[in-house]
């Protein structure tokens, strides 16, 4: 059967999006694949379709619980029942049940931690899989923006012989990261599909400020004048709260979003944003994963992101519908210092390594460092992983290199902020690619006319969202009867 007919039968689409078919053909031929597809370009379909073509389970390794949940939800929403998420939220009974019937599932999502548990490892070894997928594969690289040491050990689980093809997926990756993915996943001369990272319909604007305080004034005025929907990225939870509160004061439908919000609230915000009840979201970088909203028109970075990859990922949430969108980057002298601070926050320091070694020498469990609050969880994972493989001195040197690399990331971002030539060219160059489709109003340095790109904000009809409770109850239960 033709790939297109599978596509139509299971997903109802007539044609593939760029890259999907190339990737699928290689996988079906048994070839390992690394696919770099921008978010929103239908990455998931690259492993969902094989799940239907072959009658064996697809194993998807996913680093983030929220992302995993989102993908499970998506599949379930499509009516797929044979899907399971193996993660630390399962009770022992649920886990045993799932493991016992593992072969019955079409899609098995798993966290890297779970993958390494002996019981799970053994069960997987006895299972015939059709495909192994490493989602967000850049997490495997310490050069990537979201390094997860556990990812390095996926290689341990993937058998060398007699294994199904491996598919590594990521939105963006530099050549360095690409090399790490190939190496640590022990891939066999993989087919590499790289989609252009450029998004020509997203126009890049930078806004220099003399004083940090002026940024807020600008944001408030700008959001009051121009139409959303939009996302404002800022770097602290407290700022998301205060900015959103000030927008609300001005009658703008805004909400704060960060990892400290309870699950239910985060879900409400996502639904409201999707359904158009909310115009603006003020978020830390926790927001974005699993947001399938096509018509985001504006992204505002209140401060410089710490890495180019983060920047790319975050502005990439605008203009998925292909229509014009604008990404504003607000900048003030000294922002790079804060970015440096942020980027190092989760990197272990030398004294962490020393402490770790001390605990071990005293015959104590080093993970008391966590309960004592001496170290962040991410940093601990890094130290823990390398201390099992390297000496204290080797690790110190490694950390030194990592720090330098992180600073270089910030400097690369700073270069894009400070350049006087085309911002887009520099941005795309970072990913080892070239701009192919250069349009009008490309960036601040090429010249941007915002009046053609942004609509004026339309005052919402004065709607107090909290009307009488009976009315709303009727709305929920009786309106469509």
């Amino acid at each position: 059967m033709q790939l297109e007919s599978y596509l139509h039968q299971y997903f109802g689409y007539e044609t593939f999006r760029p890259g999907q078919k190339e990737v699928l053909e290689q996988l079906i031929a048994g070839q390992d694949v690394i696919a770099l597809l921008p978010t929103g370009m239908g990455k998931s379909l690259c492993y969902q379709l094989p799940g239907y073509i072959f009658d064996k389970p697809v194993l998807i390794i996913s680093p983030l619980l929220s992302l995993m949940q989102d993908q499970v939800d998506q599949l379930k929403q499509m009516g797929e029942k044979r899907v399971i998420a193996l993660n630390s939220f399962l009770t022992p009974a649920q886990k045993n049940y799932a493991l016992h019937f593992l072969h019955e599932y079409r899609f098995i999502f798993i966290s890297p931690e779970m993958l390494l548990q002996p019981q799970v490892k053994a069960r997987l070894a006895s299972l015939e899989l059709s495909l192994i997928v490493a989602d967000e594969a850049h997490c495997i690289s310490q050069w990537g923006y979201d390094f997860r040491p556990d990812y390095l050990r996926i290689g341990e689980v993937i058998q060398v012989t007699n294994r199904p093809p491996v598919l590594a997926l990521s939105a963006t990756a530099t050549t360095k990261v690409l090399h790490d993915i190939d190496h640590y996943l022990e891939m066999e001369s993989p087919f590499i599909y790289v989609h252009s990272v450029d998004r020509p319909n997203i126009h890049l604007v930078k806004k220099p400020f003399a004083l940090k305080e002026d940024k807020l004034t600008w944001i408030l005025e700008h959001v009051e004048k121009t139409a959303g929907p939009g996302i404002i990225y800022t770097q602290s939870r407290a700022k998301t709260e205060s900015i959103s509160a000030q927008l609300l004061q001005r009658g703008i439908a805004a909400a704060a979003y960060h990892a400290g919000k309870e699950m239910q609230d985060r879900q409400f915000i996502q639904h409201q944003f999707l359904s158009g009840h909310l115009d603006w979201i003020v978020a830390t970088n926790a927001f974005g994963m699993g947001i399938h909203k096509n018509n985001v028109r504006q992204i505002i970075h209140e401060s410089m992101p710490s890495t180019v990859a983060n920047y790319m990922q975050e502005i990439g949430r605008a203009g998925r519908d292909g229509e014009d969108a604008v990404a504003f980057l607000l900048f003030c002298e000294g922002d790079e210092q804060y970015a440096k601070f942020i980027v190092l926050e989760d990197l272990p320091k030398e004294f962490h390594v020393v402490r770790y070694a001390q605990y071990r020498a005293n015959g104590e469990q080093p993970n008391v460092m966590l309960s004592n609050g001496e170290i962040s969880e991410v940093a601990f994972r890094v130290v823990h992983y390398w201390m099992e493989r390297e000496t204290v001195d080797q690790l110190k040197e490694r950390l030194g290199n990592m720090q330098t690399a992180k600073y270089e990331e910030v400097m690369a971002m700073l270069k894009i902020v400070e350049t006087t030539s085309c911002m887009r060219e520099l941005l795309i160059d970072y990913f080892g690619q070239q701009v192919e489709d250069k349009r009008e109003n490309c960036c601040s340095n090429c010249g941007v006319d915002l009046s053609v790109l942004l609509q004026e904000r339309v005052e919402p009809k004065n709607q107090n969202p909290m009307t009488d409770w009976k009315g709303r109850l009727q709305q929920i239960l009786l309106r469509n009867l």
């Binding site: 409400f268 107090n464 409770w469 109850l473 009727q474 929920i476």
Partner: protein, 345 residues
């Protein structure tokens, strides 16, 4: 602010015999021997587990505010003292009533069930078969699934039945309209996402924490209403199964309760158990305090009950001596019984 008033009530109840942390554990609903004992010892049942997601930082912030207002003095060892104006402020009545001890966090399980049931019914009415569930918890999902199937949701009549039950029960409970609004706006339906705490706080010009407390208070009273009348609310009653924790009497009071439910009079129980009538009355009060279904009419007319409640509110006191002076014709037993019943409303 509600949270501060609650803290003052708790601090007062502890009578300087506990550290600040004890109040934190109480509000979080910590299941440790100490906290559980404190609940009984200092009669803090209403406040148990009101804010399960409270962080120490948020708690300390509120304590600092009480300190700044000169309501409490904090000692270095974690103990505290109430100041005179603190004591005075603490005696102000709470505008919201709580029943934390009877629900112990289960009220949120109940709400999760209602929420998922309504989301499902709302989508069904709109002809939408698949949607992303607001509740991920497997237990909640399977309970709601059973509930829908058992009540033949396919006939599409459940929407109206549940609507009527919700309208009637929420109508009936004596809480501020805002509380009902908060509860209903935390629900979701087809193209009707719920509102976040931040949004409600903004809408009502209140603190998020106070909104959460009002919500909790509303759930407690709503549940008491539903569980008090299974006939009237058969559907909500099903969703409220296993939510309330009723095994809460001391064993002696439990003995008395059994005899009482068999139809013995208090005098008979006194002689059967060879205990003073006073003690038996204590048990009855305990029973009344812990059982919403307890009917106090054999001991107390509705008129007298209302008189006592009103007096207690007007004079903002639960002191029996004062109430007795105001309403001399009722007995101390009746006073205690009325106040115990009053704890439910």
């Amino acid at each position: 602010m509600l949270i501060q008033q609650i803290l003052l009530k708790i601090f007062t109840a502890f009578q300087n015999e506990r550290t600040l942390s004890a109040a934190f554990h109480l509000l979080k609903g910590k299941r440790s021997g100490q906290t559980i004992q404190d609940v009984g010892l200092f009669q803090l049942h209403p406040f148990f587990g009101l804010l399960p997601k409270l962080t120490r930082g948020q708690f300390d912030e509120q304590v600092d505010l009480l300190f700044a207002k000169n309501y409490i003095l904090i000692e270095e060892n974690g103990y505290y003292h109430m100041t005179e104006i603190g004591i005075k402020q603490a005696s102000e009545a709470l505008l919201f009533h709580f029943d934390g001890w009877h629900y112990r966090g289960n009220e949120h399980v109940f709400f999760a069930r209602v929420s998922l049931a309504l989301q499902s019914l709302s989508h069904q009415a709109a002809g939408v078969k698949s949607f992303i569930a607001v509740e991920k918890d497997e237990d909640v999902q399977s309970k709601v699934r059973e509930f829908l199937v058992r009540n033949q949701f396919q006939q599409q009549t459940l929407q109206m039945k549940i609507y009527l039950e919700m309208e009637q029960s929420l109508e009936k409970i004596q809480v501020n309209e805002q509380v009902k609004t908060i509860i209903v706006y935390r629900l979701s339906g087809f193209q009707e996402p719920g509102l976040t705490w931040q949004q409600m706080a903004f809408g009502f010009h209140m603190q998020e924490m106070d909104i959460r407390l009002m919500y909790g208070s509303g759930l407690h009273q709503w549940l008491n209403e539903i569980l008090g009348d299974a006939q009237k609310y058969p559907y909500l009653y099903q969703l409220a199964q296993g939510i309330r924790v009723d095994l809460m009497l001391t064993s002696s009071a439990n003995e008395t309760a059994k005899l009482y439910k068999k139809g013995h009079s208090l005098e008979q129980i006194s002689s059967i158990r060879r205990l003073k009538l006073n003690t038996i009355e204590d048990h009855i009060v305990e029973l009344a305090m812990n059982d919403v279904k307890f009917d106090s009419k054999p001991f107390l007319t509705l008129e007298d009950q209302q008189l006592i409640i009103n007096a207690s509110e007007d004079y903002q006191t639960k002191k029996l001596k004062i109430l007795k002076e105001i309403i001399p014709h009722v007995s101390y037993f009746q006073l205690r019984l009325a106040l115990a019943k009053g704890a439910h409303y």
